[in-house]
């Protein structure tokens, strides 16, 4: 695995890459990270992944850090830019996997939820405290309802009650749960398990799943047929 030098320097995020795997990691030396700086670097990484990286799997590591400024309400422009970069990541023709070990909060929780899968240790906890501070969590946190149901999502999002790993695993939010010692091995096993033969089929399937529950049968059928046509188009 080699370190990738992307054109613009990043301080918080490092990218390592081998043939079919990219690892994006928040630097271990950080105790807490600046929200604006993180967003700027995430945009650079997202552009790299879309424009240059040829791997089909991207693993995000180190998402259980504290983010400075989480008690302050960001600007509306920050929200717009944040949602845009998460949307860009979600739409990449790649499998996104979040690897979690510890407390995954707020904006980093949103990033973890925008990934296709989550592999986490038993010590992992999700916390969404945005509403307690006075603003709304991002769209990917609102996806939580689809994973865990309204009851649990309501407690996590509206009341800010931590969502622990065992519960998240039982509800399908965490896809693979293990001890801290097993984590690295489990990640590689999981990658083998979920890497698709056709990344185009995966990408379109992931989009249709994200849009599920939202449409009437007629609308969903139209979307399905349009996606299937793209999928099988040579």
């Amino acid at each position: 695995m080699i370190n990738v030098n992307i054109n613009v320097e990043t301080q918080l995020l490092t990218i390592k890459e081998e043939t079919n795997l990219t690892i994006v990691e928040l630097a271990e030396t950080q105790e807490s990270i600046d929200r604006d700086a993180f967003l700027s670097e995430l945009r650079i990484v997202a552009d790299y992944l879309e424009d240059e990286s040829i791997s089909n799997v991207v693993v995000f590591k180190g998402l259980c850090l504290e983010m400075t400024g989480d008690t302050e309400v960001p600007s509306s422009d920050f929200f717009r830019r944040w949602e845009k970069v998460l949307n860009q990541l979600e739409k990449l023709p790649k499998v996104l996997i979040a690897v979690l070990d510890g407390t995954c909060e707020n904006f980093l929780m949103q990033l973890a939820l925008c990934c296709d899968y989550r592999v986490a240790t038993e010590n992992t906890t999700f916390i969404s405290s945005e509403i307690k501070v006075g603003y709304l969590p991002g769209i990917s946190t609102l996806y939580l309802t689809k994973y865990v149901g309204m009851g649990l999502a309501r407690r996590t999002i509206l009341a800010g009650i931590p969502l622990k790993a065992d519960k998240a695993y039982a509800e399908g939010l965490i896809d693979e749960m293990c001890t801290k010692e097993q984590l690295n091995e489990k990640v590689y096993e999981f990658i083998k398990l979920v890497t698709p033969k056709s990344i185009k089929a995966f990408q379109l399937g992931a989009r249709l799943l994200r849009e599920s529950y939202a449409n009437s049968y007629e609308t969903a059928l139209g979307h399905y047929l349009a996606a299937q046509n793209k999928c099988i188009d040579k």
């Binding site: 739409k91 349009a226 793209k230």
Partner: protein, 350 residues
């Protein structure tokens, strides 16, 4: 500051009456359940159509080809006049200020063309330069926008006007075929007018600077959308594979235009897409990987008016401008599609 060719105002107008989709099916005497399903499943709720002659049961009477030609001539001109008045008012201009007119229509043939009728009726200057674009179909609004904006770029002190006026109900035929049902359940009547000129600043109500156009034709599918003459009337034919043909080809012109300007799909902040039909919109959404939110105005215009042919994209563009969310520097991408099979693209910057 260098002045830039921008859209200065859009006016829209619809002739006839707005009918529920089910009312139109009833007035056209649709009895077959398969055909009724085509009307009900189109994602169109209402459409303006010009039905003027009914029998004692409230069904639309059979119209001769002369009736249909007269219908086009009357409503294409009248409705365009209303749209032009509206656009000029928004742009703060009068008919005397307009130096160039491009008129687009595919729902009837007039000679002299629509532009001559509008100049006579509305009192445009006698030295107004003009062009009539006839028979190019739903994509033709952008084909008309090109000469207008080129004129404005060449003459920065002058103003150009684009008019798209389509009376699709002047092309309705009555029979029990599925092909006719698809056409009769899709198209609506409407006119748009857009004023272009050179303004250096982006202000409320003013559109994006027009940067460039890109055309793309798929000759292998020249017959996919076409007029057939049945010996009496023109019938419009739509191949059921059109959404997928467009979907499979849409990336080529879009990415080609973006590449020329160093942009990617992710750099586009606002999309204005022709309201061609539910399947066409779905196909474009999934092939460009853009969201339902990106095409919200396209979907809403289709729901409220049906496919308005060449002027439909200006109905959507007007809604985007009225939303007042576009910020200086935002990128705009316009796509229209039609017979040929054709994709026309336009890139703009607010």
């Amino acid at each position: 500051m260098e002045s830039q060719t921008r859209l200065l105002g859009i006016g829209t107008a619809n002739p006839g009456k707005s009918y529920q989709q089910s009312e139109i099916a009833e007035m056209l005497g649709v009895m077959d359940t398969k055909i009724a399903r085509i009307f009900n499943n189109s994602h169109i709720k209402t459409r303006n159509v010009c039905f003027t002659d009914f029998d004692e049961n409230g069904a639309v009477k059979e119209e001769t080809s002369l009736d249909l030609w007269n219908k086009h001539r009357k409503y294409a001109v009248e409705t365009a006049e209303k749209a032009i008045e509206n656009a000029l008012e928004i742009a703060g201009l009068t008919v005397n200020d307009i130096d160039y007119i491009a008129c687009v229509t595919s729902t009837g043939f007039l000679c002299p063309g629509l532009s001559a009728h509008l100049i006579k009726n509305m009192g445009f200057r006698q030295n107004t330069q003009r062009i009539d674009i006839v028979g190019m179909g739903c994509n033709a609004g952008l084909n008309g926008m090109q000469p207008v904006t080129n004129f404005c770029k060449l003459h920065p002190e002058k103003f150009g006007l684009l008019v798209c006026s389509e009376v699709c109900s002047a092309l309705y035929v009555k029979d029990d075929t599925i092909g006719t049902a698809v056409v009769n359940s899709l198209f609506g009547d409407g006119s748009t007018a857009a004023v272009f000129g050179n303004r250096s600043e982006l202000k409320e109500g003013v559109g994006a600077e027009i940067l460039a156009f890109e055309s793309f034709i798929i000759p292998d599918h020249i017959d996919a959308m076409r007029f057939d003459f049945n010996g009496d009337k023109y019938e419009f034919y739509l191949d059921r594979q059109i959404p997928y043909v467009l979907g499979n080809n849409i990336e080529k012109p879009v990415k080609a235009l973006l590449k020329k300007h160093g942009l990617k799909i992710r750099d586009i902040d606002h999309w204005v897409v022709h309201s061609g039909g539910r399947k066409v919109i779905d196909s474009i959404k999934y092939n460009l990987d853009i969201s339902s939110h990106d095409v919200r105005h396209t979907i809403d215009v289709l729901r409220e008016y049906g496919n308005l042919s060449s002027g439909a994209f200006l109905f959507s563009y007007k809604r985007l401008i009225d939303e007042n969310i576009a910020k200086k520097g935002d990128n705009l991408f316009i796509i229209t599609m039609g017979p040929g099979t054709t994709v026309e693209c336009c890139l703009g910057k607010f």
